[in-house]
Symmetry: C3
Protein backbone atom coordinates (compact mmCIF):
# COMPACT_ATOMS: atom_id res chain seq x y z
CA UNK A 1 0.00 0.00 0.00
CA UNK A 2 1.20 3.48 -0.84
CA UNK A 3 0.10 6.29 1.47
CA UNK A 4 -0.17 9.84 0.18
CA UNK A 5 0.66 13.00 2.09
CA UNK A 6 -0.50 16.32 0.67
CA UNK A 7 1.37 19.51 1.38
CA UNK A 8 0.94 23.11 0.25
CA UNK A 9 4.05 25.15 -0.55
CA UNK A 10 4.34 28.92 -0.25
CA UNK A 11 6.56 31.02 -2.50
CA UNK A 12 8.57 29.83 -5.47
CA UNK A 13 11.08 27.97 -3.27
CA UNK A 14 10.10 26.47 0.04
CA UNK A 15 11.26 23.74 2.39
CA UNK A 16 8.14 22.31 4.00
CA UNK A 17 8.75 20.35 7.18
CA UNK A 18 6.81 17.08 6.88
CA UNK A 19 8.54 15.31 9.79
CA UNK A 20 5.51 15.22 12.08
CA UNK A 21 3.22 14.00 9.29
CA UNK A 22 5.56 11.11 8.52
CA UNK A 23 6.05 10.34 12.22
CA UNK A 24 2.27 10.13 12.67
CA UNK A 25 1.95 7.74 9.71
CA UNK A 26 4.64 5.51 11.19
CA UNK A 27 2.77 5.33 14.50
CA UNK A 28 -0.55 4.58 12.76
CA UNK A 29 1.14 1.80 10.77
CA UNK A 30 2.06 -0.06 13.98
CA UNK A 31 5.31 -1.15 12.31
CA UNK A 32 7.82 -1.86 15.09
CA UNK A 33 10.96 -2.60 13.05
CA UNK A 34 11.08 -1.62 9.43
CA UNK A 35 11.80 0.90 6.76
CA UNK A 36 9.92 4.00 5.69
CA UNK A 37 10.32 4.81 2.00
CA UNK A 38 9.48 8.32 0.84
CA UNK A 39 8.98 9.30 -2.80
CA UNK A 40 8.19 12.64 -4.42
CA UNK A 41 6.36 12.20 -7.77
CA UNK A 42 7.24 15.67 -9.07
CA UNK A 43 9.95 17.00 -11.41
CA UNK A 44 10.29 20.46 -9.86
CA UNK A 45 10.26 19.36 -6.21
CA UNK A 46 12.34 16.86 -4.26
CA UNK A 47 12.99 15.55 -0.78
CA UNK A 48 15.71 16.61 1.66
CA UNK A 49 16.67 15.61 5.18
CA UNK A 50 18.34 18.33 7.24
CA UNK A 51 18.13 20.45 10.38
CA UNK A 52 14.71 21.78 11.30
CA UNK A 53 15.60 23.34 14.68
CA UNK A 54 16.87 26.71 13.38
CA UNK A 55 14.74 27.84 10.40
CA UNK A 56 17.71 29.80 9.02
CA UNK A 57 19.23 26.48 7.85
CA UNK A 58 16.32 25.91 5.45
CA UNK A 59 16.64 29.48 4.16
CA UNK A 60 20.38 29.08 3.64
CA UNK A 61 19.85 25.85 1.68
CA UNK A 62 17.28 27.50 -0.61
CA UNK A 63 19.29 30.71 -1.04
CA UNK A 64 22.49 28.87 -1.88
CA UNK A 65 20.74 26.63 -4.42
CA UNK A 66 19.27 29.78 -5.99
CA UNK A 67 22.73 31.39 -6.13
CA UNK A 68 24.21 28.28 -7.77
CA UNK A 69 21.30 27.59 -10.15
CA UNK A 70 19.58 30.95 -10.69
CA UNK A 71 15.96 31.06 -11.84
CA UNK A 72 16.98 33.50 -14.60
CA UNK A 73 19.96 31.50 -15.90
CA UNK A 74 20.43 30.56 -19.53
CA UNK A 75 18.22 27.56 -20.12
CA UNK A 76 16.53 26.05 -23.18
CA UNK A 77 13.35 24.72 -21.54
CA UNK A 78 10.59 27.07 -22.64
CA UNK A 79 8.33 26.73 -19.62
CA UNK A 80 10.73 28.99 -17.73
CA UNK A 81 11.24 26.65 -14.77
CA UNK A 82 14.42 24.83 -15.83
CA UNK A 83 16.17 25.87 -12.60
CA UNK A 84 13.51 24.02 -10.62
CA UNK A 85 14.06 20.84 -12.66
CA UNK A 86 17.81 21.04 -12.05
CA UNK A 87 17.49 21.72 -8.31
CA UNK A 88 15.06 18.85 -7.85
CA UNK A 89 17.43 16.51 -9.73
CA UNK A 90 20.09 17.37 -7.15
CA UNK A 91 17.74 17.06 -4.16
CA UNK A 92 16.56 13.65 -5.34
CA UNK A 93 13.13 12.02 -5.44
CA UNK A 94 13.49 9.31 -2.79
CA UNK A 95 14.66 8.82 0.79
CA UNK A 96 14.87 5.73 2.98
CA UNK A 97 14.52 6.03 6.77
CA UNK A 98 14.58 3.27 9.39
CA UNK A 99 11.82 2.48 11.87
CA UNK A 100 12.93 1.26 15.32
CA UNK A 101 10.74 0.43 18.32
CA UNK A 102 7.72 1.78 16.46
CA UNK A 103 9.26 5.19 15.79
CA UNK A 104 10.85 6.90 12.82
CA UNK A 105 14.62 6.73 13.52
CA UNK A 106 15.87 10.20 12.65
CA UNK A 107 19.06 11.77 13.96
CA UNK A 108 18.66 14.28 16.81
CA UNK A 109 18.66 17.33 14.54
CA UNK A 110 17.14 15.82 11.41
CA UNK A 111 13.84 16.81 9.89
CA UNK A 112 12.27 15.75 6.58
CA UNK A 113 11.52 18.44 4.01
CA UNK A 114 9.51 18.50 0.83
CA UNK A 115 11.75 20.76 -1.25
CA UNK A 116 9.64 23.03 -3.46
CA UNK A 117 11.45 24.72 -6.32
CA UNK A 118 8.54 25.94 -8.49
CA UNK A 119 5.72 26.88 -6.13
CA UNK A 120 3.41 27.77 -4.69
CA UNK A 121 1.63 24.49 -5.39
CA UNK A 122 -0.16 21.51 -3.92
CA UNK A 123 2.40 18.69 -3.68
CA UNK A 124 2.37 15.02 -2.79
CA UNK A 125 4.74 12.76 -0.92
CA UNK A 126 4.22 9.01 -1.35
CA UNK A 127 5.03 6.78 1.62
CA UNK A 128 5.49 3.02 1.90
CA UNK A 129 6.37 0.91 4.94
CA UNK A 130 8.24 -2.35 5.06
CA UNK A 131 8.36 -4.63 8.09
CA UNK A 132 11.81 -6.10 8.85
CA UNK A 133 13.07 -8.56 11.44
CA UNK A 134 13.76 -7.26 14.90
Amino acid sequence: MVLRVQVRSRGRSDLIDITEKIRALVRESKVQDGICFLYVPHTTAGILINENADPSVARDILNELERLIPWDGHYQHREGNAAAHIKSSLAGASETIFIEAGELALGTWQGIYLAEFDGPRQRNVWVKFLVTQK
Copy 2:
Protein backbone atom coordinates in the same frame (compact mmCIF):
# COMPACT_ATOMS: atom_id res chain seq x y z
CA MET B 1 17.92 -11.73 -7.94
CA VAL B 2 19.57 -8.70 -9.52
CA LEU B 3 18.59 -7.85 -13.09
CA ARG B 4 20.98 -5.96 -15.33
CA VAL B 5 20.03 -3.37 -17.93
CA GLN B 6 22.67 -2.34 -20.46
CA VAL B 7 22.63 1.08 -22.04
CA ARG B 8 24.90 2.86 -24.47
CA SER B 9 25.64 6.55 -23.93
CA ARG B 10 26.48 9.04 -26.66
CA GLY B 11 28.75 12.04 -26.09
CA ARG B 12 30.69 12.87 -22.95
CA SER B 13 27.55 13.82 -21.04
CA ASP B 14 24.21 12.20 -21.75
CA LEU B 15 20.92 11.55 -20.00
CA ILE B 16 19.65 8.23 -21.31
CA ASP B 17 15.97 7.62 -20.74
CA ILE B 18 15.60 4.10 -19.33
CA THR B 19 11.98 4.48 -18.18
CA GLU B 20 10.48 2.04 -20.70
CA LYS B 21 13.16 -0.58 -20.02
CA ILE B 22 12.43 -0.46 -16.28
CA ARG B 23 8.67 -0.42 -16.87
CA ALA B 24 9.01 -3.57 -19.00
CA LEU B 25 11.05 -5.34 -16.30
CA VAL B 26 8.39 -4.47 -13.71
CA ARG B 27 5.69 -6.02 -15.92
CA GLU B 28 7.74 -9.16 -16.54
CA SER B 29 8.36 -9.51 -12.80
CA LYS B 30 4.58 -9.81 -12.15
CA VAL B 31 5.09 -7.90 -8.89
CA GLN B 32 1.75 -6.28 -8.03
CA ASP B 33 2.73 -4.24 -4.97
CA GLY B 34 6.34 -3.65 -4.22
CA ILE B 35 9.45 -1.60 -4.62
CA CYS B 36 11.85 -1.28 -7.52
CA PHE B 37 15.43 -0.55 -6.47
CA LEU B 38 17.80 0.87 -9.08
CA TYR B 39 21.57 0.97 -8.67
CA VAL B 40 24.33 2.31 -10.94
CA PRO B 41 27.67 0.50 -10.36
CA HIS B 42 29.78 3.26 -11.92
CA THR B 43 31.77 6.17 -10.47
CA THR B 44 31.38 8.55 -13.43
CA ALA B 45 27.67 7.95 -14.03
CA GLY B 46 24.62 8.17 -11.78
CA ILE B 47 20.86 7.97 -11.80
CA LEU B 48 18.36 10.84 -11.98
CA ILE B 49 14.60 11.08 -12.07
CA ASN B 50 13.21 14.10 -13.92
CA GLU B 51 11.02 15.26 -16.79
CA ASN B 52 11.31 13.33 -20.05
CA ALA B 53 8.52 15.06 -22.00
CA ASP B 54 10.52 18.06 -23.24
CA PRO B 55 14.09 16.96 -24.14
CA SER B 56 15.35 20.48 -23.38
CA VAL B 57 15.05 19.69 -19.65
CA ALA B 58 17.70 16.96 -19.93
CA ARG B 59 19.96 19.33 -21.89
CA ASP B 60 19.51 22.08 -19.28
CA ILE B 61 20.41 19.67 -16.46
CA LEU B 62 23.60 18.56 -18.24
CA ASN B 63 24.59 22.09 -19.30
CA GLU B 64 24.09 23.52 -15.84
CA LEU B 65 26.10 20.73 -14.19
CA GLU B 66 28.87 21.41 -16.71
CA ARG B 67 28.76 25.14 -15.92
CA LEU B 68 28.97 24.42 -12.17
CA ILE B 69 31.57 21.63 -12.37
CA PRO B 70 33.52 22.24 -15.60
CA TRP B 71 35.40 19.40 -17.26
CA ASP B 72 38.50 21.62 -17.43
CA GLY B 73 38.42 22.78 -13.79
CA HIS B 74 41.39 22.52 -11.43
CA TYR B 75 41.43 18.93 -10.25
CA GLN B 76 44.14 16.60 -8.91
CA HIS B 77 42.86 13.29 -10.34
CA ARG B 78 45.23 12.47 -13.18
CA GLU B 79 42.82 10.51 -15.36
CA GLY B 80 41.28 13.84 -16.39
CA ASN B 81 37.69 12.92 -15.55
CA ALA B 82 37.41 14.34 -12.02
CA ALA B 83 34.39 16.44 -13.04
CA ALA B 84 32.55 13.23 -13.94
CA HIS B 85 33.28 11.74 -10.51
CA ILE B 86 31.98 14.88 -8.80
CA LYS B 87 28.82 15.11 -10.91
CA SER B 88 28.00 11.44 -10.35
CA SER B 89 28.47 11.90 -6.58
CA LEU B 90 25.79 14.59 -6.72
CA ALA B 91 23.44 12.61 -8.96
CA GLY B 92 23.70 9.58 -6.66
CA ALA B 93 24.00 5.86 -7.33
CA SER B 94 20.60 4.59 -6.17
CA GLU B 95 16.89 5.33 -6.53
CA THR B 96 13.84 3.69 -5.00
CA ILE B 97 10.52 3.65 -6.86
CA PHE B 98 7.21 2.10 -5.81
CA ILE B 99 5.24 -0.54 -7.74
CA GLU B 100 1.46 -0.30 -7.55
CA ALA B 101 -1.11 -2.48 -9.33
CA GLY B 102 1.67 -4.15 -11.29
CA GLU B 103 3.04 -0.87 -12.66
CA LEU B 104 6.00 1.37 -11.88
CA ALA B 105 4.50 4.29 -9.91
CA LEU B 106 6.14 7.36 -11.43
CA GLY B 107 4.73 10.88 -11.28
CA THR B 108 3.02 12.12 -14.45
CA TRP B 109 6.07 13.91 -15.82
CA GLN B 110 8.79 11.72 -14.36
CA GLY B 111 11.23 9.62 -16.34
CA ILE B 112 14.28 7.68 -15.17
CA TYR B 113 17.68 8.61 -16.58
CA LEU B 114 21.07 6.97 -16.53
CA ALA B 115 23.23 10.08 -16.14
CA GLU B 116 26.45 9.68 -18.13
CA PHE B 117 29.24 12.10 -17.26
CA ASP B 118 32.24 10.44 -18.96
CA GLY B 119 30.97 8.81 -22.14
CA PRO B 120 30.44 7.51 -24.62
CA ARG B 121 30.42 4.11 -22.94
CA GLN B 122 28.49 0.93 -22.34
CA ARG B 123 26.82 1.28 -18.92
CA ASN B 124 24.82 -0.91 -16.57
CA VAL B 125 21.87 -0.33 -14.30
CA TRP B 126 21.17 -2.99 -11.69
CA VAL B 127 17.54 -3.61 -10.73
CA LYS B 128 15.97 -5.49 -7.83
CA PHE B 129 12.31 -5.99 -6.97
CA LEU B 130 10.75 -6.43 -3.58
CA VAL B 131 7.20 -7.64 -3.00
CA THR B 132 5.29 -5.74 -0.31
CA GLN B 133 1.84 -6.14 1.21
CA LYS B 134 -1.09 -4.75 -0.71
Copy 3:
Protein backbone atom coordinates in the same frame (compact mmCIF):
# COMPACT_ATOMS: atom_id res chain seq x y z
CA MET C 1 17.71 -4.56 13.76
CA VAL C 2 19.75 -1.47 13.06
CA LEU C 3 23.54 -1.82 13.24
CA ARG C 4 25.71 1.17 14.07
CA VAL C 5 29.13 1.92 12.64
CA GLN C 6 31.24 4.59 14.31
CA VAL C 7 33.79 6.58 12.38
CA ARG C 8 36.10 9.42 13.30
CA SER C 9 36.63 12.23 10.78
CA ARG C 10 39.77 14.35 10.47
CA GLY C 11 39.69 17.95 9.32
CA ARG C 12 36.67 20.08 8.61
CA SER C 13 35.86 18.17 5.41
CA ASP C 14 36.73 14.51 4.99
CA LEU C 15 35.60 11.53 2.97
CA ILE C 16 36.03 8.49 5.19
CA ASP C 17 36.10 5.18 3.36
CA ILE C 18 33.75 2.81 5.19
CA THR C 19 33.60 0.16 2.45
CA GLU C 20 35.46 -2.54 4.38
CA LYS C 21 33.43 -1.95 7.53
CA ILE C 22 30.17 -2.38 5.61
CA ARG C 23 31.52 -5.39 3.71
CA ALA C 24 32.41 -7.05 7.02
CA LEU C 25 28.92 -6.43 8.42
CA VAL C 26 27.37 -7.98 5.30
CA ARG C 27 29.48 -11.12 5.77
CA GLU C 28 28.63 -11.36 9.46
CA SER C 29 24.94 -11.01 8.62
CA LYS C 30 25.05 -14.20 6.49
CA VAL C 31 22.54 -12.58 4.12
CA GLN C 32 22.99 -14.24 0.70
CA ASP C 33 20.60 -12.19 -1.42
CA GLY C 34 19.33 -8.93 -0.11
CA ILE C 35 19.66 -5.21 0.30
CA CYS C 36 21.95 -3.17 2.51
CA PHE C 37 20.44 0.16 3.57
CA LEU C 38 22.78 2.85 4.87
CA TYR C 39 21.64 5.94 6.75
CA VAL C 40 23.57 8.89 8.17
CA PRO C 41 21.74 10.50 11.14
CA HIS C 42 23.60 13.81 10.91
CA THR C 43 22.78 17.18 9.32
CA THR C 44 26.34 18.23 8.49
CA ALA C 45 27.51 14.89 7.11
CA GLY C 46 26.16 12.63 4.38
CA ILE C 47 26.92 9.50 2.41
CA LEU C 48 28.54 9.22 -1.03
CA ILE C 49 29.51 6.34 -3.28
CA ASN C 50 32.49 6.99 -5.56
CA GLU C 51 35.98 5.88 -6.52
CA ASN C 52 38.30 4.90 -3.68
CA ALA C 53 41.25 3.63 -5.77
CA ASP C 54 42.93 7.02 -6.38
CA PRO C 55 42.64 9.20 -3.23
CA SER C 56 42.79 12.33 -5.40
CA VAL C 57 39.16 11.69 -6.42
CA ALA C 58 37.98 12.18 -2.83
CA ARG C 59 40.05 15.37 -2.54
CA ASP C 60 38.63 16.71 -5.81
CA ILE C 61 35.07 16.05 -4.64
CA LEU C 62 35.66 17.90 -1.35
CA ASN C 63 37.56 20.77 -2.97
CA GLU C 64 34.92 21.31 -5.65
CA LEU C 65 32.09 21.27 -3.12
CA GLU C 66 34.03 23.85 -1.08
CA ARG C 67 34.51 26.02 -4.19
CA LEU C 68 30.79 25.85 -4.99
CA ILE C 69 29.51 26.25 -1.41
CA PRO C 70 32.26 28.09 0.47
CA TRP C 71 32.48 27.86 4.23
CA ASP C 72 32.67 31.66 4.41
CA GLY C 73 29.72 32.38 2.13
CA HIS C 74 26.83 34.64 3.07
CA TYR C 75 24.58 32.56 5.27
CA GLN C 76 22.01 33.36 7.97
CA HIS C 77 22.55 30.33 10.23
CA ARG C 78 24.41 31.68 13.27
CA GLU C 79 26.31 28.53 14.19
CA GLY C 80 28.66 29.27 11.28
CA ASN C 81 28.35 25.84 9.63
CA ALA C 82 25.62 26.55 7.07
CA ALA C 83 27.88 25.37 4.24
CA ALA C 84 28.07 21.95 5.90
CA HIS C 85 24.28 21.72 6.10
CA ILE C 86 23.97 22.60 2.41
CA LYS C 87 26.67 20.15 1.28
CA SER C 88 25.16 17.32 3.29
CA SER C 89 21.74 18.06 1.77
CA LEU C 90 23.29 17.50 -1.66
CA ALA C 91 25.23 14.39 -0.64
CA GLY C 92 22.08 12.85 0.83
CA ALA C 93 21.45 10.84 4.00
CA SER C 94 20.69 7.39 2.58
CA GLU C 95 22.05 4.84 0.10
CA THR C 96 20.77 1.45 -0.99
CA ILE C 97 23.20 -1.27 -2.10
CA PHE C 98 22.44 -4.82 -3.22
CA ILE C 99 23.78 -8.01 -1.64
CA GLU C 100 24.51 -10.90 -4.01
CA ALA C 101 26.01 -14.32 -3.18
CA GLY C 102 26.69 -13.11 0.37
CA GLU C 103 28.71 -10.08 -0.73
CA LEU C 104 28.06 -6.35 -1.03
CA ALA C 105 27.50 -5.77 -4.77
CA LEU C 106 29.53 -2.65 -5.52
CA GLY C 107 30.83 -1.66 -8.93
CA THR C 108 34.51 -2.37 -9.60
CA TRP C 109 35.68 1.11 -8.67
CA GLN C 110 33.07 2.01 -6.11
CA GLY C 111 33.71 2.68 -2.45
CA ILE C 112 31.35 3.99 0.25
CA TYR C 113 32.21 7.24 2.00
CA LEU C 114 30.93 8.97 5.08
CA ALA C 115 31.08 12.56 3.84
CA GLU C 116 32.11 14.85 6.69
CA PHE C 117 31.48 18.56 6.16
CA ASP C 118 31.85 19.95 9.71
CA GLY C 119 34.55 17.89 11.42
CA PRO C 120 36.53 16.63 13.03
CA ARG C 121 33.91 14.60 14.86
CA GLN C 122 32.75 11.17 15.87
CA ARG C 123 30.07 10.12 13.36
CA ASN C 124 27.63 7.25 12.96
CA VAL C 125 26.36 5.28 10.02
CA TRP C 126 23.25 3.18 10.59
CA VAL C 127 22.95 -0.07 8.65
CA LYS C 128 20.02 -2.39 8.03
CA PHE C 129 19.84 -5.60 6.01
CA LEU C 130 16.89 -7.04 4.17
CA VAL C 131 16.74 -10.60 2.84
CA THR C 132 15.25 -10.93 -0.66
CA GLN C 133 14.47 -13.91 -2.90
CA LYS C 134 17.31 -15.45 -4.79
